[in-house]
């Protein structure tokens, strides 16, 4: 068994493995470009970076602030992933489990050709729950965030506070069963690094137990309260790798399905209809909640849907590019009690 000395050492090890893999891929010209993360300019931030030269490999970073789901940059492809003459370039994607899942799921929806991608697998150790730490620090400026042992150390002017990472990890990461990108054996060339085969996912969905225990009235109040600060900026949608529609239902004006205001009914309709579109598609990366400028946690809604899909169809998104997601497929044995009266 490997002794984990501490978060920082663990990140360093992941990072150096990742850099070596990236260097090799570029050197052997197995990929044209690589998208990964680099150091951010704020204490709890990282930045997406696209590199195409070996010497830039050392800019790649791994730590617990690598929030962005990089699959977003492949659907649609950003300009750097397309050569004016050669067409689509071969892209190496630094992928934690949820990024790998997103890529594979997008392939099942024919948005991505897996032949044009190499997954650089990261054995992800979770990302920080940035919003929670910010809220607990309150109205003080965070100037530095480091790791010490298994704690996140947050420093500012006249204060220093330690947060145990196990506790202050993003809630989804705590529950995550797919930390490394799933292996797709049909595509042996698709993977390098820490990718794993997942037979069947067992998930207790403990994280939403508290929500589920509520009465319908309490749930309704909880949802309204959680969403009440939404400004309808749609950052959640823009960050979501599964939100790739050319024209989102909220933007349609023939017909206008519902109001564009920040009145409660309009906010609710936006989030709940969007959630419906995520059923069986969400890869639980948490991008939507992490980007929310108002700090809204949307994960409980997505996780509830994930659970329903899991129970009803025994489906986990992003494991197999050849299995159609349940909401786009029909099987005779599909449960349909919601369509027919029981008696």
């Amino acid at each position: 068994m490997v002794m984990i000395v501490g978060l920082e050492e663990e990140n360093k090890e992941i990072e150096s493995n990742m850099r070596e893999l990236a260097r090799g891929l570029l050197k052997e010209k197995k990929v044209d470009v690589i998208i990964g993360y680099k150091k951010g300019t704020l204490p709890m931030m990282s930045q997406p970076i696209i590199i195409d030269k070996e010497e830039d490999v050392d800019k790649l970073l791994w730590n617990n602030t690598c929030y962005v789901n990089l699959a977003k940059y492949l659907v649609p492809r950003v300009a750097k992933f397309v050569d004016p003459e050669k067409g689509n370039l071969k892209v190496g994607v630094v992928a934690k489990g949820c990024v790998g899942r997103a890529l594979i799921h997008l392939a099942s929806e024919n948005r991505i050709n897996l032949d044009e991608i190499t997954i650089i697998g990261i054995p992800c150790n979770g990302v920080i729950n940035r919003q929670r730490i910010e809220m607990e620090i309150g109205e003080k400026e965070i100037l530095e965030v480091t790791a010490s042992g298994n704690n996140i150390v947050v420093k500012g002017k006249n204060f220093e506070k330690e947060f145990p990472f196990d506790e202050y990890m993003n809630e989804l990461c705590k529950q995550c069963k797919i930390r490394s990108p799933p292996l797709v054996s049909k595509f042996p060339d698709l993977h390098v690094g820490a990718c794993e085969e997942y037979a069947s996912i067992v998930d207790e969905f403990d994280d939403i137990a508290e929500f589920e225990a509520k009465s319908p009235e309490e749930k309704w109040a909880y949802i309204q309260d959680a969403l009440s600060v939404c400004t309808r900026c749609y950052a959640c949608r823009e960050a979501c790798p599964m939100c790739y529609c050319n024209l989102c239902f909220v933007d349609q004006n023939k017909p206008i399905w519902f109001g564009k205001t920040t009145d409660m009914p309009d906010i609710i309709v936006y989030h709940l209809i969007r959630a419906m579109h995520m059923a069986g598609r969400c890869v639980a990366c948490g991008a939507c909640s992490l980007v929310c400028p108002m700090g809204i946690d949307l994960n409980f809604i997505n996780r509830k849907l994930e659970k329903i899909v899991k129970q009803r169809f025994d489906f986990t998104s992003g494991l197999d590019p050849d299995t159609l997601p349940p909401m786009t497929d029909f099987k005779m044995e599909d449960a349909e009690e919601f369509m027919l009266e029981e008696d």
Binding site: G40, T41, L42, M45, S46, Q47, P48, I49, I50, Y67, V68, K72, Y73, V78, A79, K80, Q131, M135, E139, K140, E141, L143, K157, D225, A226, S228, V229, T231, R232, C233, Y234, A235, E238, A239, L247, D251, G259, K260, T261, T262, D263, L290, V291, P293, M294, G295
Partner: protein
């Protein structure tokens, strides 16, 4: 001495004194975020805050507001104009950058032949109590856009936080009217004024983010077409958090909300953003800014090139909200750096030639 002192413990007294006359807005913690809210109980007022997440702009230019209501009588339409625009407002605790944004908004909405009555009436009826910043954040850069952590522009009364109490300075006639009502305020001593000045100086010296915007504007004016925009737009995911949290962004959409069955409804305006592809999409399908690169460029050009050419000042107050908000950390400081690199490259080429 004109300056007064207000004990922090007397905020409720202040609130109770003026609440009947003004709609009183102040910083309040809502789900962990500070925002400027209509206060109904002095206990809600948060005195210990850096700045609000959403700028106080939204008191005068809310995300959603009614332009007019209407109802149908047969084929005739009766328009009901808003009557609440005459209400007196008081906004307590506005940071200097945000107060300065009111000046920008005022000039923008009053610019040209058409006056935006909906905004301007509210602005006219608003009294602003500003407050100096003792601890500017690393993302703050008001001193680079002609501001200052103790700038009093667009405030009527200005507070300096001296610990347990505030130094109260009266800036305008409106402010004088307000302070007159608070007869119980004690007179400040010379030492308090000195202390405030020292804090202002200390704050000014603590800025870590500084820009030379004259140069930025010059480079932008000449570089609408430049490969740097591709670089700038590369990691942007178009989430528009930067524009939604910006104190100087004013773009809006106009929508009719019709209650078909009751033959009535309202025309509203809601915030819109140049970062959305639909913002400029025409019915024909033509879109003048279909690509992310054009939309990213428009935001930067608007603040730092178009604004100076139309209003002779920058369209930015240096609050740093966009720096903090960007979920992919594609923040203004980096963007400005990239823009200035164009100049440096040109300089370098000249030197080599």
């Amino acid at each position: 001495m004109d300056e007064k002192l207000l004990k922090k413990s007397d905020i409720s007294k202040l609130f109770n004194e003026v609440k009947d006359e003004y709609n009183f807005y102040a910083p309040k913690k809502v789900r962990g975020n500070i925002s400027f809210e209509l206060i109904s109980d002095a206990k809600e007022i948060e005195l210990d805050y850096l700045n609000s997440k959403v700028p106080p702009k939204d008191v005068l230019f809310p995300q959603k507001e009614t332009i007019f209501e209407y109802h149908y009588e047969g084929k005739d339409v009766i328009i009901d104009e808003r009557k609440d625009l005459e209400d007196k407002l008081l906004i307590f605790g506005v940071r200097p950058c945000d107060a300065y944004s009111f000046k920008l908004l005022e000039d923008f909405f009053a610019f040209g032949e058409f006056q935006d009555d909906v905004f301007l009436k509210k602005r006219e009826n608003a009294t602003i109590i500003g407050i100096g910043c003792n601890e500017p954040r690393q993302s703050c850069f008001c001193t680079s856009v002609g501001g200052h952590p103790y700038q009093k522009e667009s405030t009527d009364v200005f507070l300096s936080d001296l610990g347990d109490y505030y130094l109260v300075e009266t800036i305008t006639e409106k402010g004088k009217d307000l302070v007159k009502k608070l007869s119980w305020l004690t007179d400040a001593k010379k030492g308090d004024v000195e202390k405030s000045k020292a804090l202002a100086k200390q704050a000014e010296e603590s800025f870590t983010t500084k820009f030379n915007f004259d140069l930025v504007t010059k480079v932008l004016d000449e570089n609408f077409e430049n490969p740097v925009w591709e670089e700038i737009a590369e990691s942007c995911i178009g989430c528009s958090s930067c524009t939604f949290l910006c104190p100087t962004c004013t773009c809006f959409d106009v929508i009719d909300e019709n209650d078909e069955y009751n033959h009535r409804g309202r025309r509203i305006r809601i915030w819109d953003t140049c970062q959305s592809c639909l913002y400029t999409l025409e019915t024909s399908g033509h879109n003048p800014r279909p690509e992310k690169i054009q939309r990213c460029r428009n935001r930067i050009m608007h603040k730092f090139s178009y604004y100076p050419s139309n209003y002779d000042r920058l369209g930015c107050v240096g609050c740093g909200r966009c720096i903090v908000a960007c979920p992919v950390n594609n923040e203004l400081r980096l963007i400005i750096d990239k823009i200035l690199e164009i100049e440096q490259k040109e300089e370098g080429e000249k030197a080599n030639a």
